[in-house]
């Protein structure tokens, strides 16, 4: 990992590391980016060296901060109101004796947002397990069913309530988007959950689910990285988790050092990107476009 020994003042080290990385990126031979005619027999695409640099840098940063967290270094994470609201929503559902509904989006388990939703589901199941209220999980893709069953079962087991786990509460509805929405609306209208947690990848059905949930008087917390659905969640739900906050949820709820470490790594990557943006804009303003062109991907 990058070690920058010069500054004695620890608070400036992250900034100096960013500058050091930027200099390294600038020094990489730009001729590697020249397009070649025929790459079908090649073992490396030189047009993607910029991607390789970013990937190696990002992986290195994440792994570094995870290892640092494992050594016991405490890491701060700012408050995210929407995530605090999950516990409040579950508490309110318990008071009213009504179920909790967790909707993990409509995409398959090979999509990262669904993986993130499954991670959150485990945390929610652990919260719900302590109370005697059902946790309904309607599923859109069959492959998500076994993963969701495992997460809920594990959540209940880790809360010391394996007996409370009901397999029938994890239900496959339909692969078809609007049939799934119709099925979930049915659950909302008839089972009347008090807390609706919508996390994952959603499309046009997002507004349907959020509005129906609002009509039933439930507290709604939604989170997605699908930009086009965020406006509807913001309007219709009580709390909305925007974009990257969805992937930070598991770290936030579990407070596990390894997960918090990866969040810190993400933040450093964002800082580097902001530095690159600033530098690129300044250089382009003075007519120097080579730096910008280095980031072009064919």
């Amino acid at each position: 990992m990058i070690i920058f020994p010069c500054s004695k003042a620890p608070r400036y080290r992250p900034f100096l590391r960013v500058v050091f990385l930027l200099i390294c990126i600038l020094l990489i031979d730009p001729s590697w980016s020249l397009a070649q005619e025929d790459l079908t027999e090649s073992w490396f695409n030189p047009n993607r060296v910029n991607m390789l640099v970013f990937l190696v840098f990002f992986f290195g940063v994440i792994i570094y901060f995870i290892r640092r967290a494992k050594k016991g270094k405490s890491l701060f994470i700012r408050r995210i109101a929407g995530l605090d609201a999950i516990e409040e929503a579950v508490g309110r559902a318990t008071e009213m004796g009504r179920p909790v509904l967790f909707v993990p989006g409509i995409e398959d388990v090979n999509q990262i947002q669904t993986v993130a939703a499954m991670i959150i589901l485990g945390n929610v199941a652990k919260m719900v397990a302590g109370y005697d209220i059902p946790l309904f999980v309607p599923i859109c893709r069959p492959f998500v069913v076994p993963v969701a069953e495992e997460r809920v079962k594990e959540g209940y087991a880790s809360a010391g309530r394996p007996d409370a786990y009901n397999r029938d509460n994890v239900r496959y509805i339909s692969d078809e988007q609007f049939a799934y929405a119709a099925g979930v609306q049915g659950i909302m209208l008839r089972d009347k959950p008090m807390a609706n947690l919508l996390f994952g990848s959603f499309f046009a059905e997002s507004l349907m689910l959020a509005e129906t949930g609002f009509l039933t008087g439930a507290i709604q917390v939604a989170g997605t990285a699908n930009i086009h659905q965020l406006p509807f969640f913001v309007v219709a739900c009580d709390y909305t988790i925007i974009g990257e906050e969805l992937f930070a949820t598991s770290a936030y709820l579990s407070k596990e050092p390894k997960l918090l470490g990866s969040l810190k790594g993400s933040d450093l990557a964002k800082a580097v990107i902001m530095g690159i943006l600033a530098l690129g804009a300044i250089l382009v303003s003075f007519g120097v476009i080579e730096f910008k062109n280095w980031f072009f991907i064919q």
């Binding site: 079908t40 695409n45 119709a182 992937f247 964002k270």
Partner: protein, 214 residues
């Protein structure tokens, strides 16, 4: 080993697909295209789990005569009907079996499923109206930003906007090309970094939630 082997498989295939991005060799790309087809096949097998889950839960409701049990019969009957006309009729060589136009399956799709889906989609017009009504009940400064911008964009994109103020369409374009674009880019960059971080944790086994307990 019950957890280590799946984690190793996850890592192996994950890293392979990452490396595939950098390798333009034709032979390598065709191997990975084949592996992508494997994932589709595996997901097709998993569909049986979904159908079994659907049937098990609805059968229990019918058996115990719980709430709405007659409708569960309709659900299961329509499922079996589609499978029967789609596969069984085709295997037995019964006329109008199989999928596609001119088959019973095709008729049910065009005259039942398609209208049902389209109508569910069309319900969004009512939902968006009720959401807009609530959005315009401004309570905070942030909510007011959202509501006012939505109003400007809605008015700017219809002829009445231009008749109110000639610059309305250009102003709407500016909103779309500047603040909306900037916000969208920031969300994309942040979400992508979060997604990559999560994917990396899954590949390295730090996140092994999909495996469940022992």
């Amino acid at each position: 080993m019950r957890r280590e082997i799946p984690i190793a498989i996850c890592f192996l295939f994950g890293i392979s697909f990452i490396l595939e991005y950098f390798i333009p060799h034709e032979g390598v790309l065709s191997i990975f295209e084949t592996i992508r087809q494997w994932a589709i096949i595996v997901i097709a097998f998993a569909y049986v789990l979904g159908i079994a889950n659907l049937l098990r839960i609805n059968y229990h409701v019918v058996q115990r005569k719980q709430r709405d049990w007659p409708y569960k019969i309709i659900l299961m009957a329509s499922l079996f009907f589609m499978i029967t006309v789609g596969i069984v009729f085709d295997i037995l060589g019964v006329g109008l079996g199989g999928i596609g136009e001119g088959t019973i399956f095709g008729w049910v799709y065009y005259h039942a499923q398609y209208p049902l889906q389209s109508t569910m989609f069309a319900l969004l017009a009512f939902f968006i109206a009720s959401a807009a009504f609530r959005a315009f009940r401004i309570r905070t400064f942030q909510a007011s930003l959202l509501a006012v911008t939505a109003l400007f964009v809605m008015i700017g994109r219809v002829p009445v906007g231009e008749s109110l103020w000639a610059g309305f369409p250009d102003f709407t374009e500016w909103i779309m090309n500047v603040p909306q674009l900037a916000g969208k880019r920031a969300i994309m960059i942040g979400a992508a970094l979060g997604a990559i971080s999560t994917a990396l944790k899954v590949l390295t086994g730090l996140e092994r939630t999909y495996l469940g307990g022992e």
